[in-house]
């Protein structure tokens, strides 16, 4: 079957090899967008998080057929040609990554939260961070990166 959706602002048209093909496979294999990672296949680790219609989604659980007509954003669509997204800059400033395999998932989850909630509470930040595993950092610097991103996006805020 054929599906159409918007990917990082551009229209795409994909022929699915199989009706149960997953979004993560479409992104990584069919479109060679390997910034989205495949970690567990059961939605537990969240390293495959992408944004579908403004919400963070585990692309390893997302049947590709169901994103027909949706707006999909991946890590590749965040940075402009000359500048990084504030969330990406915040992760760099806080050294919030180690091995980096979960970083795209965390960055996308953070973007989804901050677009909806520009000034999140610590509890909202923790709920968002909770949705993506990290085996390296203990999450301390990832939560700090969320707060840094809020500060970078609102320089006037104290």
């Amino acid at each position: 079957m054929q599906i159409n959706f918007t990917l990082n602002g551009d229209p795409v048209e994909i022929r699915l090899k199989n009706g149960d093909r997953l979004l993560v496979d479409v992104l990584r294999e069919d479109l060679q967008l390997t910034g989205t990672k495949h970690g567990c296949g059961i939605g537990a680790c969240g390293t495959c998080t992408v944004i579908v219609d403004s919400l963070p989604v585990a692309s390893c659980l997302q049947l590709a057929a169901l994103v027909d007509g949706c707006d999909v954003r991946t890590i590749e669509g965040l940075a402009g040609s000359a500048s990084l997204h504030v969330v990406q800059q915040a992760f760099i400033n806080q050294a919030a990554m180690q091995c980096g395999i979960c970083t795209p998932g965390h960055v996308m989850a953070a973007c989804a939260l901050l677009e909806k909630t520009p000034a999140p509470t610590d509890a909202q930040i923790r709920t968002s961070v909770e949705s993506v595993y990290c085996r390296c950092t203990g999450y301390v610097r990832i939560e700090a990166a969320y707060r840094e991103a809020v500060a970078l996006a609102n320089p006037a805020r104290p």
Binding site: T34, T36, V57, I92
Partner: protein, 1076 residues
């Protein structure tokens, strides 16, 4: 310049070292550009799948690959017959690339396929037929050493893979002179590295050489071993390190993945990619080695350590890898932590038919600390001393030498103890004594590199200063996330006088860089840092000599500051760019490049068979304190705070260093309380990230980190390693804190709520019926027994977007169809069982009726099947009117999953563990069902009794408003406090009259049977509630519940928890009813 001159520079004069410069790998990692092995693609590349043994021990009688080879798209099938039949392994070669004659654990590699896509490769694996003769298996350490036990390896008598013992000093005399002797037995557990990137490789042959792009931590050591396994000279194998998505010891080249990949690439003549599935990572990587320690310590009356004795047994699994070195570290290392005057040990490594164990961050030390640091805690109690004072009294100091000749150079262990106690508020909290809260402490010592792989623990590096004024570090030491690339650049920049941004670094390629051992034994900062510093010094010397001719000044009167060369006492205008000096030096007749070579070999000794010898040139130290709170009614422990103080010498990159410590602490926390799953007959029944949960952000305690003021003279700028030290003592500190809190001593990892509960309430388990053995229910078990270890994908499925309920019903009636709502259950089932699913998938997301969510004038809630749990939760009327529903929705998974899971998907049959139905059963709720005969209303119990047919579907639910003076509640008890199926979940609704007297009470208990248990206790009617009354009234749940023993608890424990949480639900609902 000598070593001393280079090192001793006051910290404030350092420009790059000690600063949080941007990580080298940051931009590629935040943009998704970093290339991990699974991201690599080559023209014509094939995909591999591996057939693994379903039996712990069996003889291979025959392998038939005919059908697999004939499957269209399959390009190569290999078995042991296609290999060099050479055993390989780090210290004790005992592993074949593919099984020859015998398989020795569930997961052992038997055959492999390369095909045009992963689906075809997995399907082909399913077609390979293996005829096994099942042999008796050795499934525990104890079974391994029984007389007449089956032999895991026919050539290894008694299954003893390694043994050593020693006696240093007068141990018997030490015990005789002791006023206080403490002893005990402790056991540690398997822990999987669970890197979020699994092991993988891309292999490609060029004539007779093979290139392996792999995510190994140790490219050169891996190359050496893979060459042996492939029967090739070492230089015919090229290992290129890709980005490594987490290692922790698990990617240090002891597994067969890269070897099999190379063999498939050879046979197919094409590049081949092999990536472990998550399941394979659990079945066939090398987890932490379980060890059993018998410890005995002797002390003088005033608390000085007099003698130590240990006897240890360790589980090697089926193959050895690095295990015998781990056995050594776990036996001797701890003796460099306190001032032991003497020590005796006897350590044995045994083969079992279980997954091979291996290197994991800590390398045996977490197991040693688990035992010995608890024994020290016992000693403090017996001596009547505060344990902090006892440890401080005995802590090693600079100049001390351990019984094994570990020479302690820099050491700030006492400072670490003080810092960690101070950060957690030890004195104040111990004086206050909050009930059920406790504090514990543990210390640890680690090497900085370890002389293990021959008598060289070194690193060589090259620093080239380029004609654009930048420098390049050429080293075979790689990044695995710990910050190597950044730290080595800082050291070189500092030494060269260049800005950090002007120093580049290569990634490991064994064809290019000089020899280096890689990321293991916390060695890179110390060993490679020294090599890079020396290479930079050599390059700087050449640069200044070149500048000498140009400036007409002796080299020692010149210096480099911020990328410019000039006289030491010159004006700013006297300086010129490094680029100009280098260009003038190169571009002249007989011009020479500026290339400095640096070599550093750890100033250590190769230990003898009894492990005597100074393993490392320097040692790092840590002390950890933990504060916990224990719920006596469940045994569940909550870790509130952990404070870790580390002596790693000079801190080169504070942010990365702090990250190493917080990450290590978190893995220690996982080892202690979350990371375990069910085993049956030598196989984990559900090897996935839900049943083996990692610590998530939600369960993180507050972590405090401090670095001791310390300086290691032999380290680069005074630095030592710190990769592992933050993990080792965490489980022991937590166990000591539990003992402090509730007086229960846990001696066997993992620390489970049930173990604590049993110790607190032994009387409840006196007449326990233990006959109900765990029945394997896991999907992998089923699949392995069917001979399908990797799980083939279903055949072509058609996808249909239904527009109306009638269309869905018609499609169901046509047969072989399944409804897809959020899509989650389909995706999970596919991943976990791999079995062919329905041929037609009917999406209901576009049926407008099924998305309806409303509250009518009478207050009835209508929520239809395609409404997500999150959408229902976000509806504020729920919070006001049905608290049980509100609490149940909040308890389901995590927010990302709640957005996928739909009401319809939560109500089908056979899902007794789900939260939503348990809450709905406590309320008055109906479901509307549609089928070929039209629509009907069904009760929820009817749905659970499977009184809904395959051609019917749930349209939605209706929930009535609660009667006046009614309260409801929901509880979910997850013993590990992580994302998983609950041990038990309960919901209740209680109606009272105006005086608070109960008129009606209902409680629902889920997860303890195939369908929820519903009770309406009559003895509560007409009463006001108290704990004892309510508890008595729900005792019937003990007999009605038919729980299965599993990772979430035994049958007896689950029954107790069913009573506990039924009671809590009723009491809470009653209180709410009175307040409403």
């Amino acid at each position: 310049m000598n070593q001393r001159d280079r090192n001793v520079r006051p910290a404030e004069s350092l420009l790059v070292v000690g600063k949080d410069v941007p990580r080298t790998d940051a931009i590629p990692k935040v943009t998704g550009a970093a290339q991990y092995v699974a991201d690599l693609h080559m023209p014509g590349m094939l995909h591999a799948a591996v057939l693994r043994s379903p039996h712990p021990h069996a003889r291979i009688l025959d392998i038939d690959t005919t059908a697999a080879a004939a499957l269209p798209g399959v390009k190569a099938v290999i078995t042991g017959a296609d290999t060099a039949r050479k055993k390989w392994g780090c210290f004790r070669p005992d592993l074949y690339p593919l099984a020859i004659d015998k398989v020795r654990y569930v997961g052992d590699e038997v055959a492999a396929v390369a095909a045009r896509d992963p689906e075809t490769a997995r399907a082909a694996v399913d077609l390979i037929k293996v005829d096994y003769e099942i042999l008796p298996a050795v499934l525990s350490m104890d079974a391994a050493i029984e007389a007449g036990a089956p032999l895991v390896h026919d050539d290894t008598e008694g299954n003893i893979a390694h043994h050593f013992s020693f006696e240093r000093g007068d141990v018997d005399g030490g015990f005789k002179a002791s006023a206080v002797i403490v002893e005990g037995t402790w056991q540690s557990a398997r822990q999987w590295h669970t890197s979020l990137e699994t092991i993988g490789c891309v292999a490609q042959w060029t004539a007779d050489r093979v290139s392996l792009w792999c995510n190994t931590q140790t490219p050169f050591l891996a190359r050496g071993r893979y060459a042996i396994a492939l029967g090739l000279p070492e230089s015919k194998v090229r290992v290129v390190q890709t980005e490594v998505g987490g290692g922790f010891g698990g990617k240090s080249g002891d597994d067969n993945a890269s070897v099999i990949c190379a063999l498939l690439a050879k046979k197919s003549g094409k590049p081949v990619k092999l990536i472990h599935t998550r399941e394979e990572e659990f079945l066939a990587s090398h987890p932490r080695m379980p060890m059993r320690y018998r410890v005995r310590l002797g002390f003088s009356r005033d608390g000085h350590i007099k003698a130590k004795e240990i006897k240890m047994l360790a589980d090697n699994g089926a193959y050895t890898g690095k295990s015998q070195a781990i056995l050594g570290a776990a036996t001797v290392r701890h003796d460099a932590l306190y001032k032991y005057p003497c020590a005796r040990a006897d350590s044995t490594l045994v083969y079992t038919n279980l997954v091979p164990t291996g290197a994991f961050r800590g390398f045996g030390n977490p197991s040693a600390d688990w035992a010995v640091e608890q024994c020290w805690d016992l000693a403090a109690e017996k001596l009547g001393m505060d344990v902090v004072d006892l440890l401080r009294l005995n802590a090693v100091e600079p100049g001390d030498v351990s019984p094994h000749n570990h020479k302690i150079t820099s050491c700030e262990l006492k400072q670490c103890i003080d810092l960690s106690a101070h950060m957690i508020g030890w004195k104040k909290k111990r004086a206050l004594r909050t009930p059920n809260r406790g504090l514990g402490i543990g210390c640890s010592v680690h090497v900085n590199g370890r002389r293990s792989f021959g008598d060289w623990d070194g690193s060589a590096a090259i620093v080239r200063i380029n004609d654009d004024g930048r420098a390049t570090i050429i080293t075979g030491e790689g990044e695995i996330g710990q910050g190597t690339l950044t730290v080595l650049r800082q050291i070189a920049a500092e030494e060269l006088g260049l800005p950090y941004e002007d120093v580049d670094i290569t990634r490991p390629d064994t064809d290019v860089q000089p020899y280096a051992l890689g990321a293991l034994a916390s060695r890179v900062t110390y060993v490679a840092g020294n090599a890079v510093q020396r290479a930079a010094a050599a390059a700087l010397k050449q640069l200044l000599e070149a500048a000498s001719a140009q400036f007409k000044l002796p080299p020692d009167e010149l210096t480099v500051i911020n990328g410019e060369v000039g006289p030491r006492r010159g004006r700013e205008t006297d300086f010129k760019p490094v680029a100009a000096v280098v260009r003038a030096h190169i571009y002249q007749p007989n011009g020479q490049p500026i290339i400095g070579v640096g070599n550093f070999d750890n100033p250590s000794e190769f230990p003898d068979h009894s492990r005597y010898g100074n393993e490392s040139g320097a040692y790092n130290f840590a002390a950890q304190t933990a504060e916990v709170e224990v719920d006596r009614a469940t045994g569940r422990v909550t870790v509130l705070e952990i404070a870790c103080a580390v002596d790693c010498g000079t801190v080169i990159h504070p942010a990365a260093a702090e990250g190493q410590v917080t990450g290590a602490v978190t893995q220690g926390l996982g080892l202690a309380v979350t990371e375990y799953f069910d085993w049956h007959n030598g196989v984990p029944t559900d090897p996935n990230l839900k049943d083996y949960p990692l610590p998530s952000a939600a369960m993180m305690p507050r972590i405090h980190v401090a670095f001791a003021d310390s300086y290691e003279p032999s380290g680069p700028y005074g630095a030592k390693g710190l990769g592992e030290i933050g993990l080792d003592a965490v489980p022991a500190a937590i166990a000591n804190a539990i003992a402090d809190a509730v007086g229960v001593r846990i001696t066997e990892l993992p620390i489970t709520a049930e173990k604590i509960y049993r110790a607190l309430h032994p009387e409840l388990f006196v007449n326990e019926d233990k006959s109900a053995a765990a029945t394997p229910k896991g999907s992998v078990w089923t699949r392995l027994m069917a001979g399908k270890p990797s799980g083939a994908r279903p055949p072509q499925a058609e996808f249909i977007f239904a527009k109306s309920v009638d269309e869905v019903v018609a499609a169901l009636a046509a047969g072989d169809a399944a409804i897809v709502a959020g899509g989650m259950s389909h995706a999970v089932r596919r991943e976990r069982t791999g079995f062919a699913q329905a041929k037609r998938l009917i999406a209901v997301a576009r049926v407008p009726e099924l998305k309806e969510l409303s509250l009518d004038a009478r207050g009835v809630l209508r929520a239809n099947a395609a409404v997500s749990l999150q959408a229902l939760y976000d509806d504020l009327s729920i919070r006001k009117n049905w608290q049980a529903l509100d609490e149940a929705l909040a308890a389901v998974g995590i927010v990302r999953l709640r957005r996928m899971i739909t009401i319809g998907g939560s109500l089908g049959p056979l899902i007794g563990g789900f939260d939503l139905p348990v809450a709905l059963l406590a309320l008055n709720c109906r479901a509307t069902v549609a089928g070929p005969g039209g629509r009907r209303v069904a009760t929820l119990p009817e749905l659970f009794e499977k009184r809904i047919t395959k051609v019917e579907m749930v349209i939605g639910i209706e929930v009535d408003p609660l009667p006046a003076h009614t309260g409801s509640s929901f509880f979910k008890y997850m013993a590990r406090n992580v994302l998983e199926i609950p041990t038990v979940n309960t919901a209740a609704s209680v109606t009272v009259d105006a005086d608070g007297i109960c008129q009606h009470a209902r409680v629902v208990v889920g997860s303890v049977s195939w369908k929820p248990v519903i009770l309406e206790p009559r003895e509560l009617i007409g009463k006001t509630f108290d704990d004892a009354l309510v508890r008595r009234s729900v005792q019937a749940v003990r007999t009605l519940a038919q729980p299965m023993a599993d990772v979430r608890g035994s049958v007896a424990y689950k029954r107790e928890m069913a009573v506990e949480f039924a009671t809590r639900a009723l009491l809470t609902a009653w209180q709410r009813a009175r307040q409403s």
